[in-house]
């Protein structure tokens, strides 16, 4: 057995288990050590990923593939996990929560996401998804003393279990139709099955898989769980789910649908394009009415998912490439936003948008960075989001779906409305009288700076990242 193929996953899972093991023996004063251990594990897994010499090789009896896409998603998930670990430490200490268990669950969830992304077989893909999902349910409900967190966890669990059941049903139909679980041969067999009298089942299976993955990435109309779960979850977990869980859903979409069901792309392309338009419109329009900043960002993330789906819907290599680029941009903008929100909520600052009044005068740096991340969400030039949207619009036009490009442009215009209302509150509204001091934790400041650098770098010198995402998407469309 060639375990070398999954060293990054083994390291990360091992560090997770070590955290669980050490947790009871580490006193309240030494909790910081557990945080350092988690950071060390994530960095070690990243180094193991970078020093993986093989590309394009199938390993572990066809269960995983080590192609550029695997490398891309492994690094994406590990970077996100690193940023989340950095800003969640202060958050947990503030609330007297158990650092060891939280970090362990974060490691397990990231391992699951990585297994999903490197899967070359539907069985390993499903197992990775379950590992990610189970860890996420617990992370959402992690705040023991907050009823809201429990409610969010239960909602996420019920909806996630339904999505898993749908996916499993669809995958079992696919196995019944094709007699194989290997992703590279699925598509041809499914296309062959289409010619038989029972061909209708193929669409049932494809529809079930698409619906289940739409649940996981919170695409409309399967997004109804997202605002509640994202609002109630501990704030670092909300950021983690928006970036890692949703990107893992996109990894599964690319593996299973773009590659696995490639021969049927004309049909699912239209379905996904419709889903993309619906998702971005619903997300943007609903976000306009939100008062709570986490809830607003939840709907904004639904809208972002719509943009990203457009890249997969066109079913071209360029489309997948711009999807990958947008995922990097989305990572930095989202985690940057959450680093700011956590820095503010640390001193009892509220989560309502009204609580942000006068922030521009009290903490100009924090307000400025939040505005930068919002600008990236909207797609203002010289930010990451602008280059990302440019790529998606270009891919949509090249893929003969110009109406999708129009949808992205119109929706970006709508989204200015709710980002502007927060910016106006921060910069123009007066400072409330009972405003306390705000201080970001050291880890939070590091992740804030890293996110800001990422957003600006992607906006100003995007070439390197463009090449990376195009290289990673090379083998996807067969």
């Amino acid at each position: 057995m060639d375990f070398g193929a999954v060293w990054p996953e083994i390291i990360l899972a091992g560090v997770g288990m070590l955290l669980v093991l050490l947790d009871p023996f580490v006193g309240a004063k030494r909790q910081r050590a557990l945080g350092y251990l988690a950071v060390g594990g994530i960095v070690a897994a990243g180094i193991a990923t970078l020093f993986e010499p093989r590309t394009g090789e199938v390993a572990l009896a066809g269960m995983v593939i080590l192609d550029p896409l695997s490398l891309f998603f492994r690094l994406l998930f590990l970077s996100a996990a690193l940023l989340v670990t950095l800003f969640s430490f202060g958050f947990l200490q503030e609330r007297d929560q158990d650092v060891g268990e939280f970090m362990a669950l974060l490691c397990f969830a990231t391992t699951g996401a990585m297994v999903m992304a490197i899967s070359w077989d539907i069985i390993s893909l499903y197992v990775g998804l379950e590992l990610l999902s189970i860890s996420s349910y617990i992370l959402v409900a992690f705040l023991r003393d907050e009823r809201r967190s429990h409610e969010a966890g239960l909602k996420y669990l019920l909806n996630g279990a339904l999505a898993s059941a749908l996916l499993l049903f669809g995958l079992s139909l696919i196995y019944g139709l094709t007699g194989t679980t290997a992703i590279p041969v699925l598509g041809r067999q499914l296309a062959a099955a289409l010619g038989h009298p029972y061909g209708g089942i193929v669409w049932l299976a494809v529809g079930l898989v698409l619906a289940a993955l739409a649940f996981k990435i919170a695409a409309a109309p399967f997004h109804l769980w997202a605002p509640d779960a994202y609002e109630g979850a501990p704030t670092p977990v909300t950021g983690y789910l928006m970036v890692v869980a949703e990107s893992a859903g996109f990894a599964a979409l690319i593996r299973l649908v773009s590659t696995g069901m490639g021969p049927l792309s004309t049909e699912w392309g239209i379905w996904l394009a419709g889903l993309a338009i619906l998702t971005m419109t619903v997300g943007n329009v609903t976000a306009l009415w939100q008062q709570n900043i986490k809830r607003m960002l939840a709907y904004s993330s639904v809208a972002q998912v719509g943009y990203i789906l457009a890249g997969i819907a066109v079913a071209t290599r360029g489309g997948v490439g711009s999807t990958l680029f947008y995922l990097i941009a989305y990572l930095f903008s989202t985690l940057g936003c959450f680093a700011v929100i956590i820095a503010l909520s640390a001193r009892g600052h509220g989560e309502q948008i009204a609580d942000y009044a006068g922030l521009g005068r009290r903490r100009p740096w924090l307000a400025g960075l939040l505005t930068l991340f919002f600008a990236s969400y909207v797609g203002i030039p010289a930010t990451a989001g602008f280059m990302g949207k440019l790529g998606l619009i270009g891919a949509a036009i090249h893929g003969d779906m110009a109406w999708l490009a129009v949808g992205i442009a119109v929706n970006s215009a709508i989204s200015i409305g709710y980002y502007w209302s927060v910016a106006r509150t921060m910069w123009i509204d007066p400072v409330p009288e009972a405003a306390g001091a705000i201080r970001a934790s050291a880890g939070g400041s590091i992740s804030l700076v890293l996110s800001a650098v990422g957003v600006v770098l992607l906006g100003l010198v995007p070439q390197m990242f463009f090449h990376l995402s195009q290289w990673a998407s090379a083998g996807v469309i067969r």
């Binding site: 899972a13 699951g112 990775g128 590992l131 617990i138 429990h150």
Partner: protein, 206 residues
């Protein structure tokens, strides 16, 4: 073939029983019937070892645990059938959807004559289903999913501990009132407290 249809009918009927039963203990008992009929199905497919394991672990150990948990919980609060919210219109929709799927599969199977999937990694027919081939498949081609599942189960255990046990100062807080409402000095349990937890605020944009 006849065995298959009888057992399959029992399995479907028991599955309906699981969701239709009002009493949670009855649901568990229906689930035992369902899992046993699945075990019979495995055996008719010549996967004898899997069938036995299914009975030993699922129908046996896991269901016992289910009953333990249920009796621990319902010792404090009687199952309140009246408060059970009856889904409106969903039953009909669910039956219709299930009928459409069943019709698709049955018609497809009848008309299209779906061939049984060729044997995958499990190997030759003679040794299929024995402990040896089962173990070799588990620790050979399916090692990664096997270990991944083990990790997922570990995560679930860690989560159960993290969410339910833990801090003494937070004991019961955030849990439903039924679990938290333990009389400290042997006083009789107040019935109004022992009622199911107040409905947690649901959905919608608050």
């Amino acid at each position: 073939m006849i065995t298959f249809f009888i057992v399959a009918a029992v399995a479907v009927a028991a599955a309906i029983g699981v969701i239709a039963a009002r009493n949670a203990v009855h649901s568990v008992l229906w689930l035992v019937v369902h899992l046993c009929s699945l075990a019979v199905l495995y055996m008719t497919l010549h996967a004898e070892f899997l069938g036995l394991v299914q009975i030993l672990i699922y129908a046996g150990a896991v269901m016992i645990l289910f009953l333990f948990v249920l009796s621990l919980l319902s010792a404090r609060s009687a199952p309140n059938a009246a408060a059970w919210e009856q889904p409106r219109g969903q039953t009909g929709l669910a039956i219709a959807a299930a009928a459409v799927v069943a019709a698709l599969v049955l018609v497809g199977a009848a008309v299209g004559n779906i061939a049984a999937p060729t044997q995958g990694a499990a190997g030759g027919a003679a040794a299929f289903g024995t402990v040896q081939t089962f173990g070799q498949a588990l620790f050979g081609p399916y090692l990664l999913p096997f270990e991944g599942t083990a990790l997922a189960l570990l995560t679930a255990i860690v989560g159960a501990v993290a969410l339910s046990a833990g801090h003494d100062d937070a004991a019961g807080r955030g849990l439903p009132a039924t679990v938290a409402a333990e009389p400290a000095d042997g006083a009789p349990i107040d019935v109004s407290h022992a009622a199911p937890a107040e409905p947690v605020a649901t959905g919608g944009d608050r």
